[in-house]
Subunit: 356 residues, 2 copies
DNA sequence: GTGAAAGCGCTAACAG
DNA sequence: CTGTTAGCGCTTTCAC
């Protein structure tokens, strides 16, 4: 049997290697590689033979070996500062999925509480050790971070940034349109006194969402009422305060549009504290469709922002940029994902009657 | 200059390699490797020279290359079913940290909604592709999963399982003691009508926590009152129902011990809905110290279970087992992490007065 | 203590 | 369409 595959001297485990598969399928390892990675130029019969061998042997490619060989040493950083648990969970899950899919190495870092100096230092440090960076809000608005990373020519992608800046790539939804649609949903239900809890002022998405709210009102011919607009900061706590003020108004709103689910959940809590039923006495809608939306009772009508799959896409974009030859011109992409209205149980017509 | 390091033909990136560091420090790559990995047998002077070179060049070892060379192709799976967002966030963060530290490759999978058949199939599949598995509750109680994985001799570690079973390694806290302590805290504040919302019956930790509650009461000489014990399922929603029942009692409790933070947060919400102030009219404590505890107002007094660092430890244990020579005897470890009482603002003496 | 040689498992590049 | 060659960057093994 001169067909014997290379002998492994140092192998510890007993994992199946590409050579064993190749031997079994009677092809070269290279062909196996092509089949496994879905390259096109392989005859169907060959492909099938290889697949069968893969199946029979239970072959799983060694990520370490392929990244090494492909020189795709792509380390990608995902840095964050105090997002809600539900938001970070989505972000992490999506990035992890993308990293597994592409064999990228994910580096997670918490930059909570960094001032500009610390941010600059951390960014400089980061630039030395990774090939790309994912920037969720509010870091994607940080001049300091973008400046340092740009200087080191480390590709970045802003995720859910609310707008496209031409400086860096971004993966986002159309926040304006999304919030306009959900406020229109409230209008269609018959509401005219619709309050808005704005998001954190340091984030562009907050502005977009507020503009969507204003646009929906304007198109419906509803006059803007400044007393119905409260500043929030995307946290549950800030939502508590904002709604407390709203419900203490002489003429309180019949519906509340919160700029994210956490604040909407807070609204439900305060409404109950005030003895109001949701949605009969007060309709409430959120934004993002994180798990916060389905945690509370009643479950929230909201807009789905597919954060996990956005993070996944972000990794693709980064990898594409990293693998591009340096000679290629720099490309900045703007990926706008689809949002989706999610109708649940927190909206009813005004006037105390439950929804049909 | 015949010192020139190996020429790289296929290298895409510009990352610093071990050879460059070696050249600069005038030692062999092997010595650099030893220094970087903290092996002992290196002269101090040499070590220092290498460290300086590493520093100056900004060298970061290539994980892919080292895992490949060390044949530590350790793929570790973390599978989960519907934990709360806050819980999963901690789990993910910890596992990610451990994976980055050790160059293990993390595989995350959602097994939500699998029946026994699907679980068995998935476990069999998983066994073929990973070297170790982390099992958070309730999967760590799944006979089917443990059976399949044991049969394939894939090392597992149960995390936060509530007890040690001798079948598989576990990383946990002492749930009994932890809950006993927090209930004692309630007792010390003067409460005698202390309710308990139990956790999901499919998890051993639920039982331990309930036993801790009972023990604290017994030691304080407080008679058990079955009407003050409600079944919960660790979800916010189940907490809502349980507390609703508790507060409708002719003689409602003055304090509630919820078996996790999500249910405690639900308790706060229901209390408010009933017009009760927390903690003046009702004290509430949780368990875990996830972000749910600090999201609500007032912030919850709870017991900290260091989930993230437990996940991190789990990876270490798995790796140690995986790397052990097959000839070594099988070792099952029981790692009990320290819990910690976290005093915040949700507890006051009974009788309507705020805490000093 | 330190170094030289020999791969780990895979894939880019180039033949055929 | 398929195979051959030559490594990717690191660590093991075994000399010295």
């Amino acid at each position: 049997m001169k067909k014997a595959a290379r002998k492994s001297v140092r192998r510890k485990g007993m994992a199946v290697t590409i050579d064993e598969v190749a031997a079994r399928a009677k092809v070269s390892p290279m062909t196996v590689s092509r089949v496994v990675n879905g390259h096109s130029k392989v005859r169907d019969a060959t492909r099938e033979r290889v697949m069968r061998a893969v199946q029979e042997l239970g072959y799983v490619p060694n990520r370490a070996a392929s990244s090494l060989a492909a020189a795709q040493d792509a380390r990608i950083a995902l840095i964050y500062t105090n997002p809600s648990a539900a938001y970070l969970r989505e972000l992490l899950l999506g990035a992890l999925h993308g990293a597994a899919r592409t064999a990228a190495q994910l580096v997670i870092a918490d930059w909570e509480g960094f001032d500009a100096t610390a941010e600059r230092k951390a960014a400089r440090e980061l630039a030395k050790s990774v090939g790309g960076v994912i920037l969720p809000p509010p870091l994607c608005e940080s001049k300091v971070v973008i400046e340092e990373l740009t200087r080191a020519s480390v590709p970045m992608v802003a995720i859910a940034s609310g707008h496209f800046s031409h400086d860096i790539s971004s993966v986002r939804i159309d926040d304006f349109l999304a919030s306009k649609e959900i406020v229109e949903h409230l209008v269609k239900a018959g509401h005219t006194r619709i309050a808005c809890i704005k998001g954190h002022p340091n984030q562009a998405a907050s502005t977009r969402r507020f503009e969507g709210y204003q646009a929906a009102l304007k198109e419906a011919g509803i006059a803007a009422d400044a007393s119905l607009v409260q500043q929030g900061y995307f946290t549950y706590r800030s939502g508590l305060d904002a709604v407390e003020k709203l419900l203490s108004l002489r003429k309180p709103p019949t519906a509340i549009f919160a700029s994210n689910d956490d604040m909407a959940a807070a609204a439900v809590s305060v409404a109950h504290r005030h003895g109001l039923r949701v949605p009969q006495d007060l309709s409430i809608v959120g934004f993002d469709d994180t798990s916060a939306a389905t945690t509370v009772w009643p479950e929230l009508t909201t807009v789905r922002q597919p954060i996990a799959s956005m993070a996944d896409s972000a990794i693709d974009i980064l990898l594409r940029t990293i693998r591009r030859k340096p000679s290629d011109t720099r490309v900045v992409v703007d990926h706008v994902a689809a949002h989706q209205l999610v109708l649940r149980d927190s909206v009813a017509p005004p006037g105390g009657k439950a929804r049909g």
